[in-house]
């Protein structure tokens, strides 16, 4: 993919968005995180490779907007045992790159490493996220987020915090 003409304001806005999402996730600000999503959003964490067909194959997460809401509601009950108590997490997001801009949505890529601490021990999660961000009057909204874990074709521990 060739580089876009550099629009520094746009890039900064995108970076700030991605960093904010990371912070809201790490701090378990479930409502704040949910507010980042557009009404027609898709949240996808594939399994067994990055290029599968989620309508025919198993994914780790394949949420439409209403399932994102259910996920958040479940976490907020306080009885989501896999997150009660919540994992302590901190993540580093890097390589934020504006990949395309079709006038309606921005295609953004970023890499991440998450350190998750639970009673079980410290688990490291790493991968790449691809976003489609939609500029609106209220700033950017996530229309699509795909999380490609580097180990999505292997056995992994419970992933109940927000990735």
């Amino acid at each position: 993919m060739s580089a876009l003409p550099l629009n520094l304001d746009r890039l900064l806005e995108v970076q700030q968005f991605v960093y904010r999402e990371a912070r809201l996730q790490d701090e378990h600000d479930y409502d704040g995180w949910e507010a980042l999503w557009a009404d027609d959003a898709t949240y996808w964490v594939p399994a067994n490779g990055d290029a599968i067909d989620p309508t025919r194959e198993m994914s780790i997460i394949f949420d439409n907007r209403s399932r994102i809401a259910t996920r958040v509601k479940q976490l907020k009950t306080g009885k989501r045992h896999a997150q009660a108590p919540p994992s302590r997490t901190r993540r580093v997001v890097s390589n934020v790159e504006l990949l395309a801009d079709d006038g309606e949505e921005l295609l953004v890529g970023a890499n991440f490493a998450v350190y998750e601490s639970r009673e079980r021990g410290l688990t490291v999660w790493a991968g790449r996220s691809t976003y489609r961000l939609r500029p609106t009057g209220d700033g950017l909204l996530m229309a699509y987020k795909k999380v490609e874990l580097v180990d999505n074709d292997r056995a992994i521990y419970t992933l109940a915090f927000l990735i």
Partner: protein, 421 residues
């Protein structure tokens, strides 16, 4: 005889209504289980639809041991061990593929997908045919298929698969009967969910009707699920010992009482008209209605295949305190409208981020940590002992929330462990 047999008998560790905590934590027990259960009894390996074409293969497992499930060009299924017969390199790297042969990368020995040694480079270094005949890949000596489900046993002889399944084979019949084509398609791929817990924690939980209202209350409350009530005090559902360690939560009494076709799946016939028409065409309207009322089984086939209505789970022990739970969606071959719903519901429910299974897994791991405490030494499985009864087929049944299944699992476990000592 292992150290476990020498120090304390299995009868001392496993009583009718309680079991000793060390059974989940002692590495010597785990080693003994590998020999006496995982490498002896019938273990589910895979489904024929995972290797649909000639020369397809997929890497599966029996316990911690990887096993290549291949279909040869005649269509026959083989279970081969991934170990070069020369100096033990792995002959197969890919998780799946299509190939008539496997070539070892170390010195280039080549094996057919039936396990036969086809050849080796620099021929003159060996004395010809003899070596070739003797040095085929290791194989799981007994392979049997029931309703497309491929089982393997490392024991050269012993009960047949049908003897092992006994009356629990009906669970596979019931599962397949819900497919209008009479076939399942289990090719959606498996999630692999790892937990720091002993494998028996998982087996016992699969047909534990006591936990859903507590462990899953968070999702039941926000998703308005009716599942919780099936496992309540008032439920007419039954827990059942199907023999040979196979156990069941039989929800049919509740579904028949509610009398709502496809209620078992939380939907109604008008939402999946294509599927309903197919099922009626295949079975007639009356029989199709019965099938849609009774729904899909909830049965744990000892030691590793859990049929959970619309999902299949496979339990794989890796160490005394480490287990992988593989899970995929049940798909009825040729029923796209129903399949879409079953797949999406499965993705939401199971695996590392699933609304249900993430919480079950948290319980396995908490149990595993808890059982290390020195006192009390026992795990109590008394629930419902006073109200056990026999059903019309002579199986022990209890109320929905009773620990009939857990007692059944341990009874069979003990017989296998004692038989090996």
């Amino acid at each position: 005889m292992s150290t476990v047999d020498a120090t304390i008998g299995w009868d001392r560790l496993i009583e009718h209504d309680r079991v000793h905590g060390s059974l989940y934590t002692d590495p010597a027990v785990y080693e003994a289980e590998l020999e006496r259960i995982w490498y002896r009894t019938w273990v589910f390996v895979g489904h024929v639809s995972e290797v649909p074409e000639p020369n397809d293969y997929v890497v599966k497992s029996i316990g911690p041991q990887p096993v290549i499930m291949s279909r040869d060009k005649q269509g026959e299924i083989h279970l081969l061990l991934n170990r070069c017969t020369h100096r033990a390199n792995l002959v197969c790297d890919a998780a799946r593929g299509n190939s008539s042969a496997f070539r070892c990368p170390y010195h280039g020995w080549t094996f057919s997908n039936t396990g036969r040694l086809l050849g080796y480079p620099f021929n003159s270094g060996y004395d010809g045919r003899e070596a070739k005949r003797e040095l085929g890949l290791g194989r799981v000596p007994r392979v049997e298929i029931y309703r497309g489900f491929v089982f393997g046993s490392f024991a050269d002889d012993g009960p047949t698969l049908l003897e092992h399944l006994g009356d629990a084979r009906e669970a596979l019949d019931r599962l397949v009967a819900l497919s209008p084509s009479g076939e399942l398609d289990l090719s959606a791929g498996w999630l692999q969910h790892k937990v720091k817990a002993n494998w028996k924690m998982l087996v016992e939980n699969e047909t534990d009707g006591y936990h859903p209202q507590f462990v899953h209350s968070s999702i039941f409350s926000v998703a308005k699920s009716g599942i919780g009530d099936l496992y309540g005090e008032e439920s007419t559902a039954l827990s059942r010992d199907l023999g040979n360690g196979h156990t069941e939560n039989d929800l049919r009494p509740e579904f028949r009482r509610i009398d709502q076709p496809l209620g078992w799946f939380g939907t109604t016939p008008d939402r999946v008209p294509g599927y309903v028409a197919q099922l009626e065409a295949a079975n007639g309207a009356e029989k199709a209605r019965e099938l849609m009322i009774d729904g899909s089984p909830h049965v744990m086939l000892f030691p590793n295949l859990f049929i959970a209505e619309i999902q299949l789970f496979v339990i794989q022990p890796l160490a005394v305190d480490e287990t992988v739970q593989h899970v995929t969606a049940v798909q009825y071959k040729g029923s796209p409208d129903m399949n879409r719903r079953m797949l999406q519901q499965t993705i939401g429910s199971v695996g590392p981020a699933g609304f249900l299974l993430a919480d079950d897994s948290e319980m396995y791991e908490r149990n595993q940590r808890g059982v290390h405490a020195r006192s009390p030494e026992w795990v109590v499985l008394k629930r419902g002992t006073h109200r056990e009864r026999l059903d019309e087929n002579g199986h022990v049944v209890g109320d929905a929330t009773d620990e009939v299944p857990q007692r059944a699992i341990w009874k069979h476990y003990r017989s296998l462990m004692e038989a090996g000592s």
